[in-house]
Symmetry: C2
Subunit: 231 residues, 2 copies
DNA sequence: CGAAATGTTGACTATATTCAAGGCAAGTGG
DNA sequence: CCACTTGCCTTGAATATAGTCAACATTTCG
């Protein structure tokens, strides 16, 4: 199997059904065994973990096109939950889809590895934020990153903003901050004219300032260190 | 290609050379393009990101058997650096090894996806710690997790402790804490008799107490929520 | 229209950071 | 062999950042 049409046919053959869900629905429960593999056709969702007192950490946000449940298929028991953020449409794959994909098409198998690695780099970025950025920096980084991801899926590239279905509680849970502190910091940034959220759409008004606050590393324009890598 | 001997032969064929490094050497630089794919034969390493002021966030620790550089192969330009923690021996693969692995053996390709997903779940756990646990909880969680990972690679299962090459600076950088606060909190836990580090070996003295502090979720003994998952 | 969810703000408290100083152990060069 | 450096660990005091509590405003939705 080598050409593109065949790959689409392969994915179609592994598809079991479509599923529509409302906002705030639990797609995969923490600790669940035998979770399904999905892909998000429309709508947003997020992966999360909770502590025993109910506090929640959002691991990353899932946008249309993202896979859901690759890790669950891998470790038998889900280490994290997945919840829809908006109403959403999902493509549900058969249980052994991940294996069949690898078996029948090395290209598609490679793509899955690629997607998995890309998702990990999103979590990496989140960890950098939560570990080392101030509250204002974390919010700036999150807004920019989500804007970029969402804008990349639109034809207009985000000139009229992008959909933004997160509540401040979601933002707090993603950034490891309290709701109150999140609110105060966001208001400050908003009053400073750095961004605007209106009708559940995010507009970036001063990207440069936000990038500065977030201290986002631009690999093209700077080298941090003069030491040479090994290989 | 389907049996185990063939898979070993495949990996061998993709191996380009072996490499020995000392402690604290940079294996992959942030922003580096065309980084190699390695596997860690002996020794420990870590992945990290830095901010422009030099502060560093360790993303996760790499132990023998772990892959290094899967993500780098995927995104052209490395989003994080990798540094050795101890002296280490590496197996260096040829540039297109990841693709050849998928192409020649679906089983091995699937395994790579599995490893990648497992590494992501480590970062997830780190993010939960940094986002939602207190300093004592973070340290407890880190010690337990590293102990388990290291003990699993020893014949004695860790009854006489496990190697522990981290300095307090590494721990601070992994947990998003300052060095000073890390030290004070670790001393408190050590004085309370929860663990001991001696001759660069970690001994867990009171695993139950550490688990409680870390609020580690045990999926076998508890269900957090009564709501049923969707599928 | 009323209820529930979300957003906003101030006052107070807790946790963690920064600054500063010193100790200990290992390695180095005279 | 001994001063001397260097890296890592340790501690206290002052400060800053973020969390908690409490109250109220605003929006959304049935």
């Amino acid at each position: 199997m080598s050409n593109n049409a065949d790959e689409i046919a392969l994915v179609q053959s592994l598809k079991r059904r479509e599923l529509s869900v409302g906002p705030g629905e639990l797609l995969i429960q923490e600790g669940q065994s035998e979770a399904s593999l999905f892909t998000l056709l429309t709508g947003w969702a997020y992966r999360f973990k909770t502590l025993s007192d109910g506090r929640c950490q959002i691991l990353n946000f899932l946008l249309p096109g993202d896979f859901i449940g690759v890790q669950q298929k891998m470790v038998a028991v889900a280490a994290h939950g997945v919840m829809s953020l908006t109403s959403a449409r999902l493509c549900v794959f058969q249980r052994d889809a991940l294996w069949e994909l690898h078996r029948q098409s090395p290209t598609m198998g490679f793509n899955v590895t690629w997607l998995s690695a890309r998702e990990e780099s999103l979590v990496d970025e989140g960890l950098l934020s939560v570990g080392r950025r101030s509250a204002a920096g974390r919010i700036s980084a999150l807004l920019i990153l989500l804007f970029k991801r969402a804008a990349g899926r639109q034809l207009d590239g985000g000139v009229d903003g992008v959909p933004f279905p997160l509540t401040q509680q979601h933002i707090a849970d993603a950034l490891g901050l309290s709701l109150v502190h999140t609110n105060k910091t966001m208001r400050k940034l908003e009053r400073a004219g750095l961004y605007r959220i209106e009708h559940a759409r995010l507009h970036i008004l001063d990207a440069a300032k936000l990038m500065t606050l977030a201290d986002i590393y631009d690999p093209i324009n700077s080298r941090m260190s003069t030491s040479r890598p090994l290989v």
